[in-house]
Amino acid sequence: MNVFFLGMALFLVLNILAGLWRVLKGPNQADRMVSAQLFGTTGVATLLLLAQALESPFIRNAALLFALLTVMAVLAFVRNTAYEFLLDNKNEHL
């Protein structure tokens, strides 16, 4: 059973690694922030699975903190970026 949960956690980590492609490519800065948000939620799921697989119940607190604090990073992004930041190439339009 623990092997199954560990396997699911591995699957989610591979999802994170696949999503990194969007961080490297994404034509907008907003795309990169969307990826960061997805990584946050995938991280919550991975930590919950690992808490079960490794029988370490306090890892759920780490998952709680992930879920709580990812919003703050997105709020900071929205506050701190102006229009010229969102584009990679100044000749594009959104």
Partner: protein
């Protein structure tokens, strides 16, 4: 399966670190840094260190991203591509260092059990129940004390760069959309509650002063994002007392042990002093981190510098064609 997982995490940490160095601009590096923090939290989980995993989750997912993005907002006019020097010169010292570490790990004797038995043997001397708290606050109290000193110096350094003497005067406009106000109203009490929960938990389970301090700091930063002056409202004397309280409380306890024991700089016996130490450290860490975020000039404020003297004042007239 565990080995495959560890290999994937290890290699991805190296890969993400490499891509941070080769990032095409600063914002991509910031998002990769947040991802690095999340993967590192998973690595700590696999190493069966829930304390560090919780701390890494708190700092990596939240506060590090906020601080870096605030710093990025200041550089708004210089969206330079980070310069990549000749990175292959770095390989030589890196390979030497990695070789030394591999050599050290391969020659650990087989019957070495780590420091666990030593800690467990000395636990009854402290009056604490949880070994990690005992290590942080008792056996390696110097490290914690100096870490609080480092945070204090960091706050003073940021204030020096900004040429300010307090964190007052940095108020953001309130979020325009109702969802922004609502989410802050919802999350802020939750952060204070979870901060208190982690502090209380630290006595007997993974948690403790640092994790609680970071969550409380996130609460203060959320309050500031709501357009409230947040902890800049604190009177200046109280602000100075609280940011130095962790460092100073350690110093007071260490010096006053001279009067109660035979030696200078020994650890207090009673549990009440250790609890007080942990609470003071939490408040101190929280206020230091909030001050770091509030004192960093964001996009809407510039660093106050003296304007350069312009010799051609006569040619700038309000009726110029531009």
């Amino acid at each position: 399966m565990g080995l495959v997982f560890d290999l994937v995490i290890g290699l991805s940490l190296i890969g993400v670190a490499w891509s941070i160095i080769r990032a095409r601009d600063h914002f991509q590096a910031i998002v990769l840094f947040i991802t690095f923090g999340m993967l590192l939290s998973l690595a700590w989980t696999r190493l069966k260190s829930p304390d560090i995993a919780i701390a890494e989750a708190a700092v990596g997912a939240g506060l590090a991203g906020v601080l870096l993005m605030d710093a990025l907002g200041t550089l708004s006019s210089s969206r330079n591509r980070p310069t990549h020097g000749n990175l292959f010169i770095l390989l030589i010292p890196l390979v030497v260092l990695a070789g030394l570490m591999a050599y050290a790990i391969m020659f650990i004797p087989d019957d070495f059990q780590g420091l666990g038995p030593l800690v467990r043997k000395s636990m009854p001397d402290t009056h604490l129940e949880y070994p990690v708290t005992a290590v942080l606050l008792d056996f390696r109290g110097y490290d914690t004390w100096l870490e609080l000193g480092v945070l204090l110096v960091a706050v003073l350094g940021v204030l020096c760069v900004r040429r300010a003497s307090t964190i007052k005067g940095s108020i953001l406009p309130a979020p325009a959309e109702p969802v922004g106000r609502w989410i802050i109203k919802l999350l802020l009490p939750l952060m204070v509650l979870i901060g208190g929960y982690l502090l209380w938990l630290g006595a007997f389970a993974p948690g403790g002063a640092f994790q609680a301090g970071v969550v409380l700091a996130s609460g203060g930063v959320m309050l500031w994002q709501a357009g409230h002056p947040s902890l800049a409202l604190l009177p200046r004397l109280w602000w100075k007392i609280i940011i130095s309280s962790g460092f100073v409380f350690f110093l007071i306890l260490a010096s006053s042990s001279m009067f109660f024991n035979d030696h200078f700089m020994t650890h207090p016996e009673a549990k009440i002093w250790i609890l007080g130490l942990e609470y003071a450290a939490t408040l101190s860490i929280a206020l230091c981190l909030i001050s770091l975020v509030l004192a960093s000039p964001g996009r809407n404020q510039g660093i106050k510098t003296r304007p350069p003297k312009s010799p051609e004042k006569n040619s700038c007239s309000p009726h110029s064609p531009e």
